[in-house]
Amino acid sequence: MESAAGNIADVLKCSHISKEFDSFDGTGKNLVLEDIDFSVKDNEFLVLFGPGQCGKTTLLNILAGLESPTKGEVVDHGKKVTAPAPERGVVYQKTALFPWLTVMGNVEFGPKVRGFKKEERKKIADHYIDLVGLKGFEKSYPSQLSGGMRQRVGIARAYSNNPSLMLMDEPFGHLDAQTRYMMEEELQRIWQKEKRAVVFVTNNIEEALFLADRIILMTNCPSKIKKEYIIDLPHPRSYVDPEFLRLRREITENMDKSM
Protein backbone atom coordinates (compact mmCIF):
# COMPACT_ATOMS: atom_id res chain seq x y z
CA MET A 1 0.00 0.00 0.00
CA GLU A 2 1.18 3.50 -0.71
CA SER A 3 1.84 5.80 2.18
CA ALA A 4 1.76 9.57 2.10
CA ALA A 5 5.45 9.83 2.97
CA GLY A 6 6.38 8.24 -0.32
CA ASN A 7 6.98 4.54 -0.81
CA ILE A 8 9.69 2.30 -2.13
CA ALA A 9 8.24 2.20 -5.62
CA ASP A 10 8.83 5.94 -5.91
CA VAL A 11 11.98 6.59 -7.87
CA LEU A 12 11.87 10.32 -7.44
CA LYS A 13 9.93 12.54 -5.14
CA CYS A 14 9.58 16.21 -5.86
CA SER A 15 8.20 18.05 -2.84
CA HIS A 16 6.78 21.54 -2.94
CA ILE A 17 9.32 22.96 -5.34
CA SER A 18 9.32 26.67 -6.09
CA LYS A 19 11.86 28.54 -8.14
CA GLU A 20 12.29 32.25 -8.66
CA PHE A 21 14.84 34.18 -10.64
CA ASP A 22 15.89 37.80 -10.38
CA SER A 23 13.82 39.71 -12.92
CA PHE A 24 15.59 41.17 -15.91
CA ASP A 25 15.55 44.74 -14.59
CA GLY A 26 16.99 43.47 -11.32
CA THR A 27 14.33 45.12 -9.17
CA GLY A 28 12.20 42.11 -8.32
CA LYS A 29 11.73 38.37 -8.59
CA ASN A 30 10.20 36.24 -11.30
CA LEU A 31 8.40 33.21 -10.02
CA VAL A 32 8.61 30.43 -12.63
CA LEU A 33 7.69 27.35 -10.60
CA GLU A 34 5.19 27.37 -7.76
CA ASP A 35 4.67 24.55 -5.30
CA ILE A 36 5.34 21.66 -7.68
CA ASP A 37 4.68 18.43 -5.85
CA PHE A 38 4.64 14.98 -7.44
CA SER A 39 6.47 11.70 -7.44
CA VAL A 40 7.60 9.36 -10.18
CA LYS A 41 7.02 5.64 -9.78
CA ASP A 42 9.31 2.88 -10.92
CA ASN A 43 9.10 2.28 -14.68
CA GLU A 44 6.42 4.91 -15.06
CA PHE A 45 6.20 7.12 -18.13
CA LEU A 46 5.22 10.49 -16.72
CA VAL A 47 4.53 13.42 -19.03
CA LEU A 48 4.66 17.02 -17.86
CA PHE A 49 2.35 18.77 -20.26
CA GLY A 50 1.79 22.48 -20.40
CA PRO A 51 1.66 25.50 -22.63
CA GLY A 52 4.31 28.09 -23.27
CA GLN A 53 7.97 28.22 -22.47
CA CYS A 54 7.72 28.87 -18.79
CA GLY A 55 9.74 26.91 -16.29
CA LYS A 56 9.67 23.40 -17.71
CA THR A 57 13.35 23.22 -18.60
CA THR A 58 14.11 24.75 -15.22
CA LEU A 59 12.04 22.06 -13.54
CA LEU A 60 13.90 19.29 -15.39
CA ASN A 61 17.23 20.89 -14.48
CA ILE A 62 16.16 20.90 -10.85
CA LEU A 63 15.16 17.22 -11.05
CA ALA A 64 18.53 16.47 -12.67
CA GLY A 65 20.35 18.39 -9.95
CA LEU A 66 21.76 21.02 -12.28
CA GLU A 67 19.89 23.83 -10.57
CA SER A 68 18.63 24.08 -7.02
CA PRO A 69 15.07 25.07 -6.12
CA THR A 70 14.32 28.23 -4.16
CA LYS A 71 11.95 26.23 -1.95
CA GLY A 72 11.27 22.52 -1.55
CA GLU A 73 13.46 19.53 -2.34
CA VAL A 74 13.92 16.64 -4.73
CA VAL A 75 14.55 13.19 -3.29
CA ASP A 76 15.93 10.36 -5.43
CA HIS A 77 15.60 6.90 -3.88
CA GLY A 78 15.49 8.43 -0.43
CA LYS A 79 18.48 10.71 -0.98
CA LYS A 80 18.21 14.45 -1.40
CA VAL A 81 19.34 15.66 -4.82
CA THR A 82 22.07 18.29 -4.57
CA ALA A 83 24.12 17.63 -7.70
CA PRO A 84 23.77 15.86 -11.05
CA ALA A 85 24.31 12.10 -11.01
CA PRO A 86 24.51 9.37 -13.65
CA GLU A 87 21.38 7.72 -12.18
CA ARG A 88 19.34 10.53 -13.73
CA GLY A 89 19.93 10.60 -17.48
CA VAL A 90 18.85 13.61 -19.52
CA VAL A 91 17.80 13.88 -23.18
CA TYR A 92 17.88 17.48 -24.35
CA GLN A 93 15.92 19.40 -26.93
CA LYS A 94 18.61 19.67 -29.58
CA THR A 95 22.26 20.39 -30.34
CA ALA A 96 23.21 18.50 -27.22
CA LEU A 97 25.38 15.92 -28.99
CA PHE A 98 29.11 16.53 -29.04
CA PRO A 99 29.75 17.41 -32.70
CA TRP A 100 33.42 16.44 -32.50
CA LEU A 101 32.61 12.86 -31.49
CA THR A 102 31.18 10.05 -33.60
CA VAL A 103 27.94 8.29 -32.69
CA MET A 104 30.08 5.74 -30.84
CA GLY A 105 32.07 8.48 -29.12
CA ASN A 106 28.91 10.23 -27.97
CA VAL A 107 27.27 7.10 -26.60
CA GLU A 108 30.38 5.89 -24.80
CA PHE A 109 31.09 9.34 -23.36
CA GLY A 110 29.27 8.64 -20.07
CA PRO A 111 30.92 5.27 -19.38
CA LYS A 112 34.26 6.80 -20.35
CA VAL A 113 33.89 9.66 -17.90
CA ARG A 114 32.99 7.13 -15.24
CA GLY A 115 36.19 5.21 -15.91
CA PHE A 116 34.98 2.09 -17.72
CA LYS A 117 37.60 0.15 -19.68
CA LYS A 118 37.59 0.35 -23.44
CA GLU A 119 36.05 -3.08 -24.15
CA GLU A 120 33.39 -2.63 -21.48
CA ARG A 121 32.24 0.76 -22.67
CA LYS A 122 32.24 -0.39 -26.27
CA LYS A 123 30.00 -3.28 -25.26
CA ILE A 124 27.64 -0.91 -23.46
CA ALA A 125 27.61 1.55 -26.36
CA ASP A 126 27.09 -1.21 -28.95
CA HIS A 127 24.09 -2.45 -27.01
CA TYR A 128 22.35 0.93 -26.85
CA ILE A 129 23.26 1.95 -30.39
CA ASP A 130 21.62 -1.27 -31.47
CA LEU A 131 18.62 -0.61 -29.21
CA VAL A 132 17.90 2.77 -30.80
CA GLY A 133 18.34 1.31 -34.29
CA LEU A 134 21.57 3.00 -35.33
CA LYS A 135 23.70 -0.05 -35.98
CA GLY A 136 26.03 0.75 -38.87
CA PHE A 137 26.20 4.46 -38.04
CA GLU A 138 28.75 4.11 -35.23
CA LYS A 139 31.41 6.04 -37.11
CA SER A 140 29.16 8.84 -38.38
CA TYR A 141 29.41 12.33 -36.94
CA PRO A 142 26.26 14.14 -35.74
CA SER A 143 26.53 16.59 -38.65
CA GLN A 144 26.04 13.64 -41.02
CA LEU A 145 22.80 12.51 -39.35
CA SER A 146 19.20 13.66 -39.69
CA GLY A 147 17.39 15.30 -36.77
CA GLY A 148 15.57 12.10 -35.85
CA MET A 149 18.77 10.06 -35.91
CA ARG A 150 20.53 12.61 -33.74
CA GLN A 151 17.81 12.31 -31.14
CA ARG A 152 18.23 8.52 -31.23
CA VAL A 153 21.88 9.07 -30.36
CA GLY A 154 20.76 11.37 -27.54
CA ILE A 155 18.50 8.64 -26.18
CA ALA A 156 21.22 5.99 -26.45
CA ARG A 157 23.65 8.31 -24.71
CA ALA A 158 21.24 8.86 -21.81
CA TYR A 159 20.70 5.09 -21.53
CA SER A 160 24.43 4.38 -21.55
CA ASN A 161 24.80 5.16 -17.84
CA ASN A 162 21.98 2.78 -17.00
CA PRO A 163 19.97 5.46 -15.19
CA SER A 164 16.94 4.59 -13.07
CA LEU A 165 15.28 7.78 -14.29
CA MET A 166 15.29 9.45 -17.68
CA LEU A 167 14.51 13.15 -17.99
CA MET A 168 13.47 14.23 -21.47
CA ASP A 169 13.12 17.91 -22.35
CA GLU A 170 10.92 18.19 -25.45
CA PRO A 171 13.29 15.87 -27.29
CA PHE A 172 11.20 15.89 -30.48
CA GLY A 173 10.17 19.55 -30.35
CA HIS A 174 12.21 20.64 -33.34
CA LEU A 175 11.52 17.67 -35.60
CA ASP A 176 9.11 17.84 -38.53
CA ALA A 177 5.70 16.28 -37.94
CA GLN A 178 6.37 13.06 -39.85
CA THR A 179 9.67 12.35 -38.12
CA ARG A 180 8.09 13.26 -34.83
CA TYR A 181 5.38 10.60 -35.12
CA MET A 182 8.01 8.08 -36.05
CA MET A 183 10.24 9.01 -33.13
CA GLU A 184 7.33 8.81 -30.70
CA GLU A 185 6.70 5.24 -31.85
CA GLU A 186 10.41 4.50 -31.65
CA LEU A 187 10.66 5.87 -28.13
CA GLN A 188 7.69 3.74 -27.14
CA ARG A 189 9.38 0.65 -28.61
CA ILE A 190 12.71 1.41 -26.93
CA TRP A 191 11.06 2.11 -23.61
CA GLN A 192 8.97 -1.08 -23.73
CA LYS A 193 12.19 -2.99 -24.29
CA GLU A 194 14.25 -1.30 -21.58
CA LYS A 195 11.86 0.23 -19.10
CA ARG A 196 12.92 3.13 -16.95
CA ALA A 197 11.04 5.77 -15.05
CA VAL A 198 10.68 8.66 -17.48
CA VAL A 199 9.79 12.31 -16.97
CA PHE A 200 8.98 13.68 -20.40
CA VAL A 201 8.28 17.36 -20.98
CA THR A 202 6.19 18.43 -23.96
CA ASN A 203 3.71 21.04 -25.12
CA ASN A 204 2.20 18.73 -27.70
CA ILE A 205 -0.99 17.03 -26.50
CA GLU A 206 -0.91 14.20 -29.04
CA GLU A 207 2.64 13.35 -28.06
CA ALA A 208 1.68 13.42 -24.37
CA LEU A 209 -1.30 11.10 -24.89
CA PHE A 210 0.60 8.75 -27.17
CA LEU A 211 3.39 8.15 -24.66
CA ALA A 212 2.14 8.72 -21.14
CA ASP A 213 1.09 6.44 -18.32
CA ARG A 214 0.22 9.60 -16.48
CA ILE A 215 -0.03 13.22 -17.57
CA ILE A 216 0.51 16.14 -15.24
CA LEU A 217 -1.10 19.27 -16.67
CA MET A 218 0.81 22.42 -15.80
CA THR A 219 -0.37 26.03 -15.86
CA ASN A 220 1.51 28.83 -17.53
CA CYS A 221 3.80 31.27 -15.72
CA PRO A 222 4.33 30.55 -12.94
CA SER A 223 4.01 26.83 -13.61
CA LYS A 224 1.80 25.03 -11.15
CA ILE A 225 0.27 21.59 -11.26
CA LYS A 226 -3.31 21.97 -12.44
CA LYS A 227 -4.54 18.45 -12.86
CA GLU A 228 -3.41 14.88 -13.20
CA TYR A 229 -4.66 12.26 -15.66
CA ILE A 230 -4.01 8.52 -15.56
CA ILE A 231 -3.87 7.25 -19.13
CA ASP A 232 -4.43 3.51 -19.22
CA LEU A 233 -5.02 3.03 -22.93
CA PRO A 234 -3.19 -0.01 -24.30
CA HIS A 235 -0.08 0.43 -26.46
CA PRO A 236 0.42 1.00 -29.34
CA ARG A 237 -2.11 3.82 -29.22
CA SER A 238 -4.05 5.23 -32.10
CA TYR A 239 -4.44 8.96 -32.59
CA VAL A 240 -8.05 8.46 -33.70
CA ASP A 241 -9.18 6.09 -30.97
CA PRO A 242 -12.42 7.57 -29.47
CA GLU A 243 -11.06 7.46 -25.90
CA PHE A 244 -7.84 9.09 -27.10
CA LEU A 245 -9.83 11.88 -28.72
CA ARG A 246 -12.05 12.32 -25.68
CA LEU A 247 -9.01 12.71 -23.39
CA ARG A 248 -7.44 15.04 -25.88
CA ARG A 249 -10.48 17.30 -25.85
CA GLU A 250 -10.77 17.18 -22.07
CA ILE A 251 -7.13 18.04 -21.41
CA THR A 252 -7.04 20.73 -24.08
CA GLU A 253 -10.10 22.38 -22.57
CA ASN A 254 -8.41 22.49 -19.19
CA MET A 255 -5.24 23.96 -20.59
CA ASP A 256 -4.30 27.62 -20.11
CA LYS A 257 -4.84 29.33 -23.43
CA SER A 258 -3.21 32.66 -22.65
CA MET A 259 0.50 32.96 -23.23
Partner: protein
Amino acid sequence: MKNKTAKYKYRILSVCSVIAVLFIWELVTDILHLISPMMLPSPAKVLNTLIYKLTGGVNPDGATLLQHIAASMKIALGGYTVGVLVGVPLGIAMAWNRKFEMFAKPLFDVIRPIPALAWIPLMILWLGIGYWSKVGIIFFAAFISATINSYAGIKRTSQVHLWVASTFGASKRQMLFKVAIPTALPMIFTGLRLALGSSWVALVAAELLAATRGLGYMIQVARMLGRPDVIIVGMITIGVIGYLLSTVLEKLQNKYVKGGK
Protein backbone atom coordinates in the same frame (compact mmCIF):
# COMPACT_ATOMS: atom_id res chain seq x y z
CA MET B 1 32.88 11.96 -64.17
CA LYS B 2 31.18 15.27 -64.74
CA ASN B 3 32.49 16.46 -61.39
CA LYS B 4 36.01 15.68 -62.44
CA THR B 5 35.64 17.68 -65.65
CA ALA B 6 34.35 20.66 -63.69
CA LYS B 7 37.29 20.46 -61.32
CA TYR B 8 39.62 20.32 -64.30
CA LYS B 9 38.00 23.42 -65.78
CA TYR B 10 38.60 25.39 -62.60
CA ARG B 11 42.23 24.26 -62.57
CA ILE B 12 42.61 25.66 -66.06
CA LEU B 13 41.21 29.00 -64.88
CA SER B 14 43.78 29.15 -62.09
CA VAL B 15 46.61 28.33 -64.48
CA CYS B 16 45.31 30.97 -66.89
CA SER B 17 45.61 33.77 -64.34
CA VAL B 18 49.22 32.87 -63.57
CA ILE B 19 50.10 32.61 -67.25
CA ALA B 20 48.41 35.92 -68.01
CA VAL B 21 50.42 37.73 -65.35
CA LEU B 22 53.66 36.16 -66.54
CA PHE B 23 52.84 37.04 -70.12
CA ILE B 24 52.10 40.70 -69.36
CA TRP B 25 55.23 40.85 -67.25
CA GLU B 26 57.32 39.45 -70.09
CA LEU B 27 55.59 41.78 -72.53
CA VAL B 28 56.38 45.00 -70.66
CA THR B 29 59.99 43.99 -69.96
CA ASP B 30 61.83 41.86 -72.54
CA ILE B 31 59.51 42.35 -75.50
CA LEU B 32 58.32 45.98 -75.44
CA HIS B 33 60.97 47.36 -73.03
CA LEU B 34 58.38 49.62 -71.41
CA ILE B 35 59.93 49.29 -67.95
CA SER B 36 63.62 49.53 -67.23
CA PRO B 37 65.27 46.31 -65.96
CA MET B 38 66.51 48.36 -63.01
CA MET B 39 62.89 48.71 -61.91
CA LEU B 40 61.44 45.40 -63.00
CA PRO B 41 63.60 42.60 -64.40
CA SER B 42 62.02 40.11 -66.80
CA PRO B 43 60.59 36.80 -65.59
CA ALA B 44 63.48 34.98 -67.29
CA LYS B 45 66.01 37.02 -65.37
CA VAL B 46 64.23 36.36 -62.08
CA LEU B 47 64.14 32.63 -62.86
CA ASN B 48 67.85 32.70 -63.60
CA THR B 49 68.61 34.42 -60.32
CA LEU B 50 66.36 31.94 -58.48
CA ILE B 51 68.24 28.99 -59.95
CA TYR B 52 71.56 30.67 -59.20
CA LYS B 53 70.64 31.35 -55.56
CA LEU B 54 69.18 27.89 -55.15
CA THR B 55 72.23 26.12 -56.51
CA GLY B 56 74.69 27.69 -54.10
CA GLY B 57 75.23 31.21 -55.44
CA VAL B 58 76.19 33.58 -52.62
CA ASN B 59 76.21 36.92 -54.46
CA PRO B 60 75.30 39.66 -53.83
CA ASP B 61 74.37 39.12 -50.17
CA GLY B 62 76.89 36.57 -48.93
CA ALA B 63 74.71 33.49 -48.51
CA THR B 64 72.75 30.96 -50.54
CA LEU B 65 68.98 31.01 -50.62
CA LEU B 66 68.78 27.90 -48.46
CA GLN B 67 70.99 29.52 -45.83
CA HIS B 68 68.70 32.55 -45.77
CA ILE B 69 65.66 30.33 -45.50
CA ALA B 70 67.24 28.37 -42.65
CA ALA B 71 68.11 31.58 -40.78
CA SER B 72 64.58 32.95 -41.17
CA MET B 73 62.92 29.69 -40.20
CA LYS B 74 65.04 29.45 -37.07
CA ILE B 75 63.77 32.83 -35.91
CA ALA B 76 60.20 32.45 -37.08
CA LEU B 77 59.64 28.97 -35.70
CA GLY B 78 61.45 29.83 -32.47
CA GLY B 79 59.29 32.88 -31.77
CA TYR B 80 56.16 31.20 -33.08
CA THR B 81 56.60 28.10 -30.94
CA VAL B 82 57.16 30.07 -27.76
CA GLY B 83 54.28 32.43 -28.61
CA VAL B 84 51.88 29.56 -29.20
CA LEU B 85 53.04 27.58 -26.18
CA VAL B 86 52.36 30.58 -23.97
CA GLY B 87 49.36 32.00 -25.83
CA VAL B 88 47.12 28.93 -26.19
CA PRO B 89 47.23 27.87 -22.52
CA LEU B 90 46.86 31.50 -21.45
CA GLY B 91 43.76 31.95 -23.62
CA ILE B 92 42.26 28.72 -22.35
CA ALA B 93 42.96 29.59 -18.72
CA MET B 94 41.54 33.10 -19.08
CA ALA B 95 38.33 31.79 -20.58
CA TRP B 96 37.90 28.89 -18.18
CA ASN B 97 38.77 30.38 -14.81
CA ARG B 98 36.78 33.43 -13.77
CA LYS B 99 39.29 34.61 -11.18
CA PHE B 100 42.20 34.27 -13.55
CA GLU B 101 40.21 36.10 -16.20
CA MET B 102 39.63 39.04 -13.88
CA PHE B 103 43.32 39.03 -13.06
CA ALA B 104 44.89 38.63 -16.49
CA LYS B 105 42.37 39.92 -19.03
CA PRO B 106 42.81 43.70 -18.40
CA LEU B 107 46.56 43.38 -18.77
CA PHE B 108 46.16 41.35 -21.94
CA ASP B 109 43.64 43.82 -23.35
CA VAL B 110 46.22 46.60 -23.01
CA ILE B 111 48.98 44.57 -24.68
CA ARG B 112 46.72 43.22 -27.41
CA PRO B 113 46.37 46.34 -29.63
CA ILE B 114 50.13 47.02 -29.63
CA PRO B 115 51.46 45.89 -33.02
CA ALA B 116 54.33 43.40 -32.78
CA LEU B 117 56.55 45.82 -34.68
CA ALA B 118 56.10 48.45 -31.97
CA TRP B 119 58.06 46.12 -29.69
CA ILE B 120 61.16 46.37 -31.90
CA PRO B 121 62.83 49.29 -30.06
CA LEU B 122 62.31 47.74 -26.63
CA MET B 123 63.41 44.34 -27.83
CA ILE B 124 66.62 45.78 -29.24
CA LEU B 125 67.20 47.66 -26.01
CA TRP B 126 66.64 44.56 -23.88
CA LEU B 127 67.98 41.77 -26.02
CA GLY B 128 70.38 43.45 -28.45
CA ILE B 129 70.23 43.02 -32.18
CA GLY B 130 70.93 39.28 -32.29
CA TYR B 131 68.73 36.21 -32.50
CA TRP B 132 66.71 36.70 -29.32
CA SER B 133 65.42 40.19 -30.03
CA LYS B 134 63.94 38.94 -33.29
CA VAL B 135 62.49 35.91 -31.56
CA GLY B 136 60.99 38.32 -29.04
CA ILE B 137 59.25 40.32 -31.78
CA ILE B 138 57.89 37.17 -33.44
CA PHE B 139 56.78 35.99 -30.02
CA PHE B 140 54.44 38.96 -29.64
CA ALA B 141 53.13 38.57 -33.16
CA ALA B 142 52.21 34.92 -32.56
CA PHE B 143 51.20 35.18 -28.93
CA ILE B 144 48.39 37.70 -29.45
CA SER B 145 46.47 35.74 -32.12
CA ALA B 146 47.00 32.44 -30.33
CA THR B 147 45.64 33.83 -27.06
CA ILE B 148 42.62 35.68 -28.42
CA ASN B 149 41.39 32.78 -30.51
CA SER B 150 41.86 30.16 -27.80
CA TYR B 151 40.02 32.43 -25.40
CA ALA B 152 37.12 32.96 -27.80
CA GLY B 153 37.00 29.25 -28.60
CA ILE B 154 36.62 28.18 -24.98
CA LYS B 155 33.98 30.86 -24.46
CA ARG B 156 31.89 29.19 -27.16
CA THR B 157 31.44 26.06 -25.04
CA SER B 158 27.74 25.25 -24.94
CA GLN B 159 25.96 25.25 -21.60
CA VAL B 160 23.99 22.16 -22.61
CA HIS B 161 27.22 20.26 -23.33
CA LEU B 162 28.47 21.12 -19.86
CA TRP B 163 25.14 19.95 -18.42
CA VAL B 164 25.45 16.67 -20.27
CA ALA B 165 28.97 16.15 -18.95
CA SER B 166 27.95 17.03 -15.44
CA THR B 167 24.94 14.69 -15.41
CA PHE B 168 27.42 11.99 -16.42
CA GLY B 169 29.44 12.84 -13.32
CA ALA B 170 32.35 14.51 -15.13
CA SER B 171 34.84 16.38 -12.98
CA LYS B 172 35.73 20.02 -13.67
CA ARG B 173 38.95 18.81 -15.25
CA GLN B 174 37.12 16.34 -17.50
CA MET B 175 34.74 19.11 -18.56
CA LEU B 176 37.71 21.22 -19.61
CA PHE B 177 39.54 18.49 -21.49
CA LYS B 178 36.59 16.54 -22.88
CA VAL B 179 34.11 19.34 -23.59
CA ALA B 180 35.57 22.85 -23.60
CA ILE B 181 38.84 22.18 -25.41
CA PRO B 182 37.25 20.02 -28.14
CA THR B 183 34.70 22.83 -28.62
CA ALA B 184 37.51 25.36 -28.91
CA LEU B 185 39.77 23.28 -31.13
CA PRO B 186 38.66 24.73 -34.49
CA MET B 187 39.20 28.25 -33.17
CA ILE B 188 42.50 27.30 -31.58
CA PHE B 189 43.64 26.15 -35.01
CA THR B 190 42.40 29.38 -36.56
CA GLY B 191 44.52 31.15 -33.97
CA LEU B 192 47.54 29.03 -34.86
CA ARG B 193 47.14 29.92 -38.51
CA LEU B 194 46.66 33.63 -37.92
CA ALA B 195 49.63 33.56 -35.55
CA LEU B 196 51.71 31.95 -38.26
CA GLY B 197 50.70 34.64 -40.71
CA SER B 198 51.56 37.51 -38.39
CA SER B 199 54.83 35.83 -37.36
CA TRP B 200 55.90 35.60 -40.95
CA VAL B 201 55.02 39.23 -41.59
CA ALA B 202 56.84 40.40 -38.46
CA LEU B 203 59.85 38.28 -39.36
CA VAL B 204 60.55 40.11 -42.58
CA ALA B 205 60.15 43.46 -40.84
CA ALA B 206 62.43 42.41 -38.00
CA GLU B 207 65.09 41.23 -40.42
CA LEU B 208 64.98 44.44 -42.41
CA LEU B 209 66.30 46.07 -39.26
CA ALA B 210 69.35 44.25 -38.13
CA ALA B 211 70.55 40.97 -39.51
CA THR B 212 73.38 39.31 -41.36
CA ARG B 213 71.29 36.55 -42.82
CA GLY B 214 67.65 35.77 -43.52
CA LEU B 215 65.13 36.44 -46.26
CA GLY B 216 64.33 39.94 -45.00
CA TYR B 217 68.03 40.72 -44.89
CA MET B 218 68.49 39.38 -48.41
CA ILE B 219 65.88 41.66 -49.98
CA GLN B 220 67.11 44.63 -47.96
CA VAL B 221 70.67 44.19 -49.25
CA ALA B 222 69.38 43.65 -52.78
CA ARG B 223 67.51 46.96 -52.59
CA MET B 224 70.67 48.80 -51.57
CA LEU B 225 72.63 47.15 -54.38
CA GLY B 226 69.93 47.80 -56.92
CA ARG B 227 69.17 44.14 -57.63
CA PRO B 228 65.38 43.94 -58.15
CA ASP B 229 65.73 40.35 -59.42
CA VAL B 230 67.02 39.25 -55.99
CA ILE B 231 64.26 41.21 -54.27
CA ILE B 232 61.63 39.39 -56.31
CA VAL B 233 63.27 36.01 -55.69
CA GLY B 234 63.16 36.80 -51.97
CA MET B 235 59.53 37.87 -52.09
CA ILE B 236 58.49 34.76 -53.99
CA THR B 237 60.38 32.59 -51.50
CA ILE B 238 58.65 34.33 -48.57
CA GLY B 239 55.26 33.78 -50.22
CA VAL B 240 55.85 30.13 -51.05
CA ILE B 241 57.18 29.25 -47.59
CA GLY B 242 54.31 31.08 -45.89
CA TYR B 243 51.89 29.13 -48.06
CA LEU B 244 53.59 25.81 -47.31
CA LEU B 245 53.58 26.40 -43.55
CA SER B 246 49.93 27.32 -43.60
CA THR B 247 49.17 24.20 -45.65
CA VAL B 248 50.90 22.04 -43.05
CA LEU B 249 48.69 23.58 -40.35
CA GLU B 250 45.61 23.05 -42.47
CA LYS B 251 46.50 19.36 -42.84
CA LEU B 252 46.96 19.08 -39.09
CA GLN B 253 43.61 20.79 -38.54
CA ASN B 254 41.85 18.38 -40.88
CA LYS B 255 43.44 15.53 -38.99
CA TYR B 256 42.54 16.68 -35.48
CA VAL B 257 39.32 18.65 -35.88
CA LYS B 258 36.50 16.24 -36.52
CA GLY B 259 32.81 16.32 -37.14
CA GLY B 260 32.22 19.72 -38.72
CA LYS B 261 29.52 21.90 -37.18
